[in-house]
C-alpha cells in the first residue's frame, strides 16, 4: 500500500525528515511514536501532499505509484486520508454541505453517480451513530464551536464517509478524554479491513491500548531508529526514548 524509500523532506528550508524507510501493507496498522519535533507530523503531511513541504531525496510510493506528481486532492481521491492534528475551523461553511461535496467529488472521480440529498442524510446519520455524534453537528459550520474531542470525532466521521484505503491519524488522541478516545478507537477498529492500511501517529501508549498496532516505529530526529511489535509500546512507556537515542 505504502512504500517510503529514503525520504528526505525540508520545511521552510529546515531538514526535518532524514531518510525514512517504511513499508505498510494492506490490512496493517502501523504506529509512529516519538518526541515532539521528531518529524511525525511532517511525515503525515508530506504523504497528504502539503505544498510547502519539499521532498529533497527519496520517494513515496502509494499502490505502486510515485505520489510526488499528484496534487493534494488527487491523493485524496485515490484513497489517502489524513485525520488532522488541528482540524481547521471554517465558520461560514456548513458541515453537511462540505461532507456531501467531498463525497460527491470522490464518487465523480470513481465514475459513479452523485449521491442525492436524501440518500446522503440517511448515510450520514448512520455514520454519526458510529462516532456517537449528535445530528445537530450537521447544521453547524465546519468545526465551528467544536470542542477538541468533537473536532477529532468529526475527522473520524469524515474518514468513515469517504472510505479511504490509507488513513493517517495524526495525533488523533491528543486532547481527548478516555471516553472520546474509546469512541474514536472503536470507529477506527470497525473500519479496519484487509484492504485498508493505517498509520497512527501518537505520543502515548494510551491510544495503542485501544487501537492495537501491528508494528510500532520510533522516530528520532527525522529517522526511524527502531521498529517493534505492539509490546514496544510498553517498553517505551517504561524506559522512555533515551535508550534509543543512545543507540544512534
Amino acid at each position: 500500500m505504502l512504500d517510503i524509500k529514503n525520504l528526505h523532506v525540508t520545511v521552510e528550508g529546515k531538514h526535518i525528515l532524514k531518510g525514512i524507510n517504511l513499508r505498510v501493507k494492506a490490512g496493517e496498522l502501523h504506529a509512529i511514536m516519538g518526541r515532539n519535533g521528531s518529524g511525525k507530523s511532517t511525515l503525515a503531511n508530506i504523504i497528504t501532499g502539503r505544498e510547502d513541504y519539499k521532498i529533497t531525496k527519496g520517494k513515496i510510493l502509494y499502490k505502486g505509484f510515485d505520489l510526488s506528481k499528484l496534487s493534494i486532492e488527487k491523493r485524496a481521491l485515490e484513497g489517502i486520508f489524513m485525520s488532522f492534528q488541528y482540524p481547521v475551523v471554517i465558520p461560514g461553511v456548513n458541515n453537511t454541505y462540505f461532507l456531501k461535496s467531498a463525497l460527491n467529488a470522490k464518487l465523480k472521480y470513481l465514475d459513479q453517480p452523485e449521491i442525492n440529498a436524501f440518500d446522503f442524510m440517511h448515510l450520514i446519520k448512520e455514520k454519526l451513530k458510529l462516532v456517537e455524534m449528535d445530528e445537530s453537528y450537521l447544521s453547524r459550520g465546519v468545526n465551528d464551536g467544536f470542542s477538541g474531542g468533537e473536532k477529532k470525532r468529526n475527522e473520524i466521521l469524515q474518514m468513515l464517509t469517504l472510505e479511504p484505503s490509507l488513513a493517517i491519524l495524526d495525533e488523533t488522541d491528543s486532547g481527548l478524554d478516555i471516553d472520546a478516545l474509546k469512541i474514536i478507537a472503536k470507529g477506527v477498529n470497525n473500519f479496519r479491513s484487509k484492504d485498508r492500511a493505517f498509520l497512527a501517529i501518537t505520543h502515548y501508549k494510551r491510544l495503542l491500548d485501544y487501537m492495537v498496532p501491528d508494528y510500532i516505529h520510533v522516530l528520532i530526529d527525522g529517522k526511524i531508529v527502531h521498529t517493534g511489535g505492539k509490546e514496544l509500546a510498553d517498553e517505551l512507556e517504561e524506559k522512555g526514548y533515551g535508550w534509543l537515542e543512545k543507540k544512534i
Binding site: T48, G49, R50, E51, S71, I72, E73, R75, A76, L77, F81, M82, F84, P87, V88, I90, P91, G92, V93, Y97, F98, S101, A102, A105, K106, Y109, G141, Q158, L162
Partner: protein, 423 residues
C-alpha cells in the same frame, strides 16, 4: 464650469409650470452643488474614489423620460411581492401593483406633499445636492400607522439600452407609520452594457414602534455609474434590518446615514460587495446615536477579485447623553487576487460614558490551512476556493427571512463565483 450648469438651466426652463417653492429648492440645491463641486482626493470622506469621470464625461439629461424599450424581467421573488417598476425613469403603472393600504405617488408631472420632500441637505454631499436639483422621477410612499403589509414592496429601477450616455436622479421617499411593519426591496437592475449614471437618493423615516426590513440590491450594468445616498431616521422603539448587496456597476458609491431619533430603537445593517475586473465600490456609513438605549450592529464584507477596489468607511457617533448605546461595527474583506485592493476605515466617536461599542476590520486572502484541509478531502482547488468564498459571503446573507429573495441572492452569488473562477 460643469456640464450640469447648462443642463440645469434648460431643465428649469422646461419645469416652469412647477410650483415656485420647488423651483426655489432646486436652485438652492444647485447653488450648493456648484459651491461644493465634485469630490476630489483632498476630501477626507471621499478620498479613495476617483470621481473625475463626472467632470470629464457629459451625461445627457432629458427632462422627459427616455423612450422605453420592451423589457424582460425574470426575477423569481417578483411573484410574491408588490412590484413598483420603473423603466429608464418611467413608472410602469400597468406592470406594478400597489397595496391598497398605502399612499403611493410617483413623481413626474406632479410633486405631492411638497413640504415633506423639500428637506434641505445638511451633509456636504454634492451628489445629494445634484439629486435635489434634478430629481424628476421616483416616488413618495406613505405607509399609514398600524399597517402590516402581507407581501414585500419590490422597487425595480430598470435601466435598459440607450443611444446616449445619460444620467438620472431618482428620489424615493418612504414613510413608515407608527406600529407598522413592512419589507422593502430596492433593486437597481441594468440590462445594458452601455454607460449611464444613476444618482439615487432614498429617504426613509421609520415611525415609533415600526419595523422595516430593507434590502438594497445593486445590479447595474457593467459600464454603469451608481451613486446612492440613503438616510434612515429611526423613531422610538423602531427596528430596522437592512442589507446592502452590491454586484453590478463599474463605479459605485453609497452614502448611508442612520439617525436614532428616539429611545430603544435597533438597527442591523449588513453589506456584501462582490467585485471583479476593474470595478470600484465605495461604502460610507454614518451611524448617529442621538438617543439613549439604542443599538446598532454593522457587518460589511467585500470580496474582491481581479483588479477591483473596495472602500469601506464607517463612522459610529455616540452623542453626549446617549447612554446605554450598544454599537458594533465589523468590516471583513477577502482579496482573491494580488491586484485587488481594499481600503477599510472603521471609526468610533463617543461622547457618552455608559456605552458598549466595538469595532474591527480584517482584510486577508483565502486561508491556506483551510484550502489544504478541503483539498485533502478530495475537493479541487477551484471548488475548495469557491466553497470557502461562498462561506465567507454567506454570513451576510444568513438571517435573510425572505426565502425567495435569499434563493435569488444565493444564485447570484453562485453565478458570480463561477464567473470569477472561469478567468
Amino acid at each position: 464650469m460643469f456640464f450640469q450648469q447648462s443642463q440645469f438651466e434648460s431643465f428649469l426652463a422646461a419645469s416652469e409650470g412647477d410650483r415656485p417653492e420647488l423651483l426655489a429648492f432646486r436652485k438652492k440645491a444647485y447653488a450648493q452643488f456648484k459651491e461644493l463641486g465634485f469630490p476630489n482626493r483632498h476630501w477626507e470622506n471621499w478620498q479613495f474614489t476617483n470621481f473625475s469621470v463626472f467632470e470629464k464625461q457629459k451625461f445627457e439629461f432629458s427632462p422627459k423620460p427616455l423612450k422605453s424599450y420592451s423589457i424582460q424581467l425574470n426575477i423569481p421573488f417578483q411573484e410574491n411581492a408588490y412590484n413598483l417598476i420603473f423603466v429608464n425613469g418611467v413608472f410602469k403603472e400597468k406592470m406594478s401593483a400597489i397595496p391598497s393600504k398605502v399612499q403611493f405617488q410617483p413623481f413626474g408631472k406632479e410633486f405631492p406633499n411638497l413640504n415633506s420632500l423639500l428637506i434641505p441637505d445638511t451633509d456636504l454631499n454634492p451628489f445629494q445636492a445634484l439629486n435635489s436639483a434634478f430629481f424628476n422621477t421616483g416616488f413618495l410612499l406613505d405607509i399609514p400607522p398600524d399597517t402590516k403589509l402581507n407581501q414585500p414592496l419590490h422597487l425595480i429601477y430598470l435601466s435598459t439600452k440607450r443611444s446616449q450616455t445619460t444620467m438620472a436622479h431618482p428620489r424615493f421617499q418612504i414613510m413608515l407609520g407608527e406600529n407598522s411593519e413592512a419589507e422593502i426591496i430596492e433593486h437597481y437592475l441594468g440590462q445594458t452594457q452601455a454607460a449611464y449614471w444613476n444618482n439615487v437618493s432614498t429617504v426613509i423615516k421609520i415611525g415609533e414602534n415600526a419595523g422595516l426590513k430593507h434590502t438594497r440590491l445593486q445590479e447595474e450594468g457593467s459600464a454603469a455609474y451608481h451613486i446612492g445616498s440613503t438616510t434612515w431616521d429611526l423613531g422610538k422603539l423602531s427596528r430596522l434590518n437592512s442589507s446592502q448587496i452590491v454586484i453590478g456597476g463599474k463605479l459605485f458609491r453609497h452614502n448611508l446615514k442612520i439617525s436614532f431619533k428616539g429611545e430603544f430603537a435597533q438597527a442591523v445593517i449588513k453589506g456584501l460587495s462582490l467585485t471583479s475586473k476593474n470595478q470600484h465600490t465605495d461604502t460610507n456609513i454614518q451611524v448617529e446615536h442621538a438617543s439613549p438605549h439604542c443599538s446598532s450592529t454593522q457587518l460589511f464584507k467585500n470580496v474582491l477579485a481581479d483588479d477591483s477596489n473596495g472602500v469601506f468607511t464607517g463612522r459610529v457617533l455616540v452623542r453626549a447623553g446617549s447612554q446605554k448605546t450598544e454599537a458594533g461595527q465589523s468590516s471583513k474583506n477577502l482579496l482573491l487576487s494580488d491586484k485587488a485592493r481594499m481600503f477599510s476605515n472603521p471609526q468610533l466617536e463617543i461622547y457618552a460614558d455608559d456605552v458598549k461599542c466595538a469595532h474591527g476590520s480584517t482584510t486577508g486572502q483565502i486561508d491556506a490551512d483551510a484550502l489544504f484541509y478541503f483539498r485533502s478531502r478530495g475537493l479541487s482547488k477551484k471548488t475548495a476556493k469557491r466553497i470557502l468564498v461562498k462561506g465567507f459571503a454567506d454570513e451576510v446573507l444568513q438571517g435573510q427571512t425572505n426565502k425567495s429573495l435569499l434563493l435569488y441572492l444565493e444564485q447570484r452569488l453562485d453565478s458570480w463565483l463561477h464567473g470569477i473562477s472561469r478567468t
